[in-house]
């Protein structure tokens, strides 16, 4: 039987990819953020997941506004990264856990989530930067992935409550999966930041702390706000927290926080990383 071993939530700021490319991890500006991954690296080395199910948002690499799915699930055996237009190096492709993707798709549609399925899908920095952060320098990536893209770009966005429900349905699919995979769930993006308008540079540490404190034990309280409420609270891009909320849903009811890091600023962003052990791995350890 498959096992959901834990979850990792992290910011995916493109500038992080630039810092990795330039080897700036130990520089004073970057070190407080990169140091937050030390416990993640130790945990991953011990837990050795085979598959990462990744909730993220595309930023105009794979999806243009001509066709914008609310929820899109990858169903490919390989996902290429590509030029996003502003200078990040193009990273190696990631293998896809294709049979698991279709299992998740069957379960989600059975549960009445009207998703889009993608047999060809480019992955942008929101997938690649977290892979680089979790497995620095790895070639190839040591996990196969199932990318699940959530629209955070063009309103109306899915409600945070719907994202939590989607995540929970993905979690049910994972627990029913007959493969022997060890699965880690990732949610990428956030925390508070805003790139556009006269409020550009907006950060809300109080709201971020609320998210960090509650997402483990009480994810439903994050889902009480609407997506536009979160835009007001966390900034236009801070709404990427809905990727975290979905990922949290997929981790299952019981989680234990193993590590967190919160650092202002990385570029325009309040950057954060969290690591959770899940109920199923807690039982396996007991």
């Amino acid at each position: 039987m498959a096992q959901i071993i834990g979850g990792i939530l992290t910011s995916h700021v493109p500038a992080i990819g630039g810092a990795i490319a330039r080897g700036q991890q130990e520089e004073p500006y970057w070190k407080p953020f990169f140091d937050g991954f030390r416990p993640v690296h130790q945990w991953l080395a011990a837990q050795r997941p085979d598959v990462a199910v990744m909730f993220y948002n595309d930023h105009g690499l794979n999806f243009f506004l001509d066709k914008m799915p609310t929820f899109a699930v990858g169903a490919a055996d390989r996902y290429r990264n590509a030029d996003e237009g502003w200078g990040l190096p193009v990273m190696q492709a990631a293998g896809g856990a294709q049979a698991l993707s279709w299992h998740i798709i069957e379960h989600l549609v059975g549960a009445e989530f009207d998703i889009t399925t993608c047999q060809s899908m480019l992955i942008d920095h929101a997938v690649v930067v977290p892979l680089q952060l979790c497995w620095p320098g790895a070639q190839p990536w040591p996990v196969k992935i199932v990318p699940i893209a959530i629209n955070t770009v063009q309103h109306p966005l899915p409600s945070p409550a719907r994202c939590l429900a989607l995540g929970r349905a993905v979690g049910q699919a994972l627990t029913n999966w007959q493969g022997a995979d060890r699965i880690v769930v990732l949610g990428t993006g956030g925390l508070s930041h805003q790139l556009e308008g006269k409020r550009a540079g907006y950060i809300n540490a109080d709201y971020d702390r609320f998210c960090l404190d509650e997402i483990g034990p009480n994810p439903d309280v994050l889902a009480r706000d609407s997506a536009v409420d979160i835009v007001e609270l966390a900034g236009t891009q801070g709404v990427e927290i809905i990727n975290w909320i979905a990922a949290r849903g997929a981790m299952g009811a019981d989680v234990r926080e193993l590590a967190r890091n919160y650092h202002i600023p990385i570029s325009n962003t309040a950057a954060a990383t969290m690591l959770f052990e899940t109920g199923s791995s807690l039982r396996a350890a007991a």
């Binding site: 500038a15 590509a82 237009g85």
Partner: protein, 125 residues
Amino acid sequence: MSMATATTEERGGKRSIPGTPVFDGDAATRGYALNRMCYSFNEASNRAQFLKDEEGYCGQFGLTPEQRDAVRNRDVLAMIAAGGNIYYLAKLAGIFGLNVQDVGAQQTGMSVDAFKQMLLDQAED
């Protein structure tokens, strides 16, 4: 519990958050040509073509006069008012070697150094 609502107002049935453009259906409709051009900048050859012949390149995508002026003036707030989405505009900014902090500084009327310092000043550690 919702912590939002303190600073919002309803305007014409739509929520308005100060200083915060929400990229909704109206903006997406208005900005389609500009965003489609910026989407093309994922390709290096298209970025080069824009630099070589900006007028001709913008013409191919049918930008509105408002969008064309905003691009010509490198005016990010005007691009957003014309329906530009920041993720796509970032690809245009990248052509000029500008990043989101440069773009943030321009929109807030700050120098880039002052904008970066404003972010650093919010550090808690």
